[in-house]
C-alpha cells in the first residue's frame, strides 16, 4: 500500500518516471492511467461521502483494478466481489448512499454485468466505469472490438471513446464532473481499445491531488438514501415510467451544454484541452470524409494526410461521444461531404456497423454513405487498409451493403 500523492509518486504506478523535470508526467499504460485518475477522483471526495468500488478482473482490464486495489484511499473502500454483476451492484449500493464510485470491465464481463448497467442508468447514479473494448466470445478473443460497449448503448449511460492514454485519464476525471452535475446525474462509460491502449505505455500527465480537488467538488447526490422512509427503484405504472424516461431524455439533452462547461473548467484547471464530442481533422473543405471511433482515428489521419497529398479533399471525424449521440455536430460537419465512409469496429449481425446504422442519415441528401466493417474481432487496421477504403469509396456510384474489410 502506498500513501503517497499520486501526482508526485512513481510508486503509485510501480513503473512511472519523471521526465523533463515535470514530475506530473508518468509513463503508464492506459489501464494504470485509468486507475490513477479514479484514485484521484476518489480521494477528492474525502470531504464528501467517500468512495467505494466493487471490482472483478477480466483481461485486458485487470491491471486497472489491481492498481486500484493497491491504493490507500482516505474514506474509501474497494470490495473484491465474485462477478461483474456484483461489481456494479456494490457500486450502486455505495452510490445510492451518496459515495463516489468506480469500476472497470470488458467484453463478456460487461455482458454479464448488463442487467445492473441498466439499473445504474435507471437509478440515475453518476457511477464511472472504465471499459476496455474487447471482442465478445465465444470463441474467445482478447482483441479490440467496440461491440461490447456499443451493445450497452440503450442503457442510459453517457459513453466516451478514447484515442490515447492521456484522453483516458482526462475523460475519467471529466466523467465525474459531467455525470455528477445536477443537470445530468448519469453514469459514464469511458472506453479504450484493448491492448492498443490498455497495455501500451505512454507519457501521461497525471495531475496533483490538490488540482483534482479544485476540479471535482464533493458529490452531492440529491436522491441519495437518508433516514427518510421511501423506496428507491420500486414499482412504476406506465405513466410513472413515462415521466422517468422523460427525465432521462432531459438529462441526456443537457449533456452537450454541460460538457462544454466541463471542457472550459478542465482547460482552466489543468492547462490542457479536453477533446470535443466529435473531433474533426482537415474538415474545412473535405468532400471525402471518414468517420471512426477510438484508436482507429489515428490511423485514419495518416491516410487522410496521404490522400491530401494526392490532391483528394479528404477529412476525418472521430466520434468520441457516442451517447448522447452528437447528431447535430455530425450533421454540421458532414454538411459539405460528398462521400462518407463510416468505419465500424463492431458488427450488428442483420444490420452492419452500429455507428453507420445511427449516423448514415446525418449526411446531406445525395451523399454516398458507405459502411466499412474494419477491425472486427480486433484485426490490426493499418494505413494500407484505410487506403483501400478510400479507393473503394472513390470508385462508388452509390452506397452498397456494409463492406467487410478483412484485415486479419
Amino acid at each position: 500500500m502506498t500513501t503517497t500523492d499520486p501526482g508526485h509518486s512513481g510508486a503509485l504506478s510501480g513503473r512511472a518516471h519523471a521526465k523533463h523535470g515535470d514530475d506530473r508526467m508518468q509513463l503508464v499504460s492506459a489501464n494504470h492511467a485509468a486507475a490513477i485518475a479514479a484514485t484521484l477522483a476518489a480521494r477528492a471526495n474525502r470531504t464528501g461521502r467517500g468512495f467505494g468500488s466493487g471490482v472483478y478482473p477480466i483481461t485486458p482490464q485487470t491491471e486497472c483494478i489491481e492498481l486500484l486495489c493497491n491504493q490507500s484511499i482516505e474514506k474509501g473502500h474497494v470490495v473484491r466481489v465474485e462477478s461483474e454483476h456484483s461489481a456494479m451492484a456494490v457500486c450502486m449500493g455505495f452510490a445510492l448512499a451518496g459515495a463516489r464510485t468506480f469500476t472497470a470491465s470488458s467484453s463478456n464481463g460487461l455482458a454479464y454485468m448488463t442487467e445492473n448497467v441498466f439499473a445504474a442508468g435507471f437509478y440515475r447514479l453518476p457511477i464511472v466505469m472504465m471499459a476496455v473494448n474487447r471482442t465478445l466470445g465465444p470463441p474467445w478473443n482478447l482483441w479490440a472490438d467496440h461491440g461490447d460497449t456499443m451493445a450497452l448503448r440503450d442503457a442510459g449511460w453517457i459513453q466516451l471513446y478514447c484515442e490515447d492514454n492521456q484522453e483516458v485519464a482526462d475523460s475519467i476525471l471529466a466523467a465525474y464532473r459531467l455525470g455528477e452535475d445536477p443537470r445530468v446525474l448519469l453514469p459514464v462509460l469511458v472506453c479504450q481499445d484493448a491492448f492498443i491502449l490498455s497495455h501500451t505505455m505512454m507519457m501521461t500527465d497525471l495531475p496533483a491531488q490538490e488540482t483534482v480537488d479544485r476540479f471535482l467538488p464533493p458529490l452531492d447526490l440529491p436522491h441519495r438514501l437518508t433516514e427518510k422512509a421511501r423506496t428507491i427503484g420500486g414499482l412504476d405504472y406506465p405513466r410513472q415510467t413515462e415521466g422517468h424516461r422523460m427525465q432521462h431524455i432531459q438529462a441526456m439533452n443537457a449533456v452537450p451544454a454541460v460538457y462544454r462547461e466541463v471542457q472550459a473548467s478542465f482547460a482552466e484547471t489543468f492547462g490542457r484541452s479536453l477533446a470535443d464530442p466529435v473531433v474533426p481533422y482537415r474538415m474545412e473543405d473535405a468532400e471525402v470524409v471518414l468517420v471512426s471511433m477510438g484508436t482507429m482515428a489515428s490511423t485514419v489521419r495518416v491516410a487522410v494526410d496521404a490522400a491530401r497529398e494526392r490532391g483528394v479533399a479528404a477529412g476525418a471525424l472521430r466520434v468520441r461521444m457516442f451517447r448522447p449521440l452528437p447528431d447535430a455536430l455530425l450533421r454540421s460537419y458532414l454538411g459539405k461531404a460528398r462521400r462518407v465512409g463510416i468505419l465500424d469496429r463492431n458488427l450488428c449481425p442483420g444490420l452492419g456497423g452500429i455507428l453507420w446504422g445511427e449516423a448514415r442519415g446525418l449526411a446531406p441528401a445525395g451523399a454516398i454513405v458507405q459502411n466499412y466493417l474494419a477491425g472486427v474481432g480486433g484485426g490490426d487496421v493499418r494505413p494500407v487498409h484505410i487506403e483501400r477504403v478510400l479507393a473503394d469509396l472513390a470508385g462508388r456510384e452509390r452506397a452498397g451493403e456494409p463492406h467487410f474489410l478483412e484485415v486479419g
Binding site: H77, V81, G234
Partner: protein
Amino acid sequence: MGALLSSEPMLGGMAQTASDRAEPVLRAGNTNCGGCGMSIGLQLLAHAAADTPIQLAIPACCGIVTAGPFPYSAYGAPTVATTFASAAAVACGMAHAARLNGEKTRVVCWAGDGGTYDIGMATLSASAERNDDLLYICYDNEIYGNTGGQRSSATPLGASTTTTPNGKDVPKKDILGVMAAHAIPYAATVSLAHPEDALRKLRYALHADGFRFLHILAPCPTCWKSEPAEGIELVRLAVRSGLFAVYEVFDGHRTVINVDSELSKDALARYFKGQGRFRKAGHEVDAVHAQIEQSWKRLRRRAAEARSDEAPA
C-alpha cells in the same frame, strides 16, 4: 408495554406500542396477501429495530411489490429495490458507505427464497465469505410467489407448483447448513410461531458485527393452498414435527437448539393435510418422519458437541 397506538395495526401477535418505532417497517395499506408470512416477519423486524435506524435492500421479489407503486412506499424505512440477484451486493455497498460516514444505520437484506437459495446464491455466498457487515433475512415461502407459484430450490419434496404439477421430486436445500458452512458470525432459523425467540434473534442479529443470516419459514397461503388464518399454526406444526428445526449456529460451528421438538408424527400429518400443495403427490408420513429423526440426531449431536466444548474442563 406502553400505550397502544390505535392507528397502527396489531400484527405478529404483538401490538404496536409507544416504546416501538415511530412507524412500522411495514405500513398499513400494503397489498400483501392476507396471511402472508412475510408481513408477520416485517412486523417482528419493526419491534426488533425499535431504536435502531435501518435501511432495507430488497430484490425484485414479492417483497418489493409490497412497497407499492412510485412515489408511495409501504416500507417505513429507507428502502432500495435491487435487481433480483443483487440484494447482498447492493447492501454491501450501503453498509460500507454507512461505516465510512460514521452512521449507526444497520443495513438489512430482506429477500425471498428465490433471491436467496437460487438466483442470488453466488452474490449471497460472496457477501458471507467477505463477512460484510449486514443482516440478511430470507423469508422463505418455499416458492416463486411473485411469478405465481413456480418451484424453487426451497420448495419441499412433494409440493405441487405450476412447474412441478405432480409434486417436486427432490427435497429442499439446507440453506442454514450452506450459510453456516461459510463460518459467518451468526446463522439462525426463525419460527413465526415463537415470537419471543424470533425477537431475541432479530435483536441479536441486528446488532452483531459481520455477516448475519436469518431464515424465516414464511407461510404463503396463496401458493401453499392453505387457510390464511392458519399460517402461524402451520409453522407451529412444522416445528413440533421437527420438519423446521429452530436453532442457531455461531461462527459456523457452535450449534444451539432453541426450541426442542417432540418430532410428532401427528403434527407432521396435520402439517401436510393443512396444505393443498401436498394433496397430489401425497406423503408417506412414516418415511418423512424417519428422515426427520435422522436429521435431528445429527443436529442434537452438533448441539451436544457445542455444549461439551463449553463445559469447564
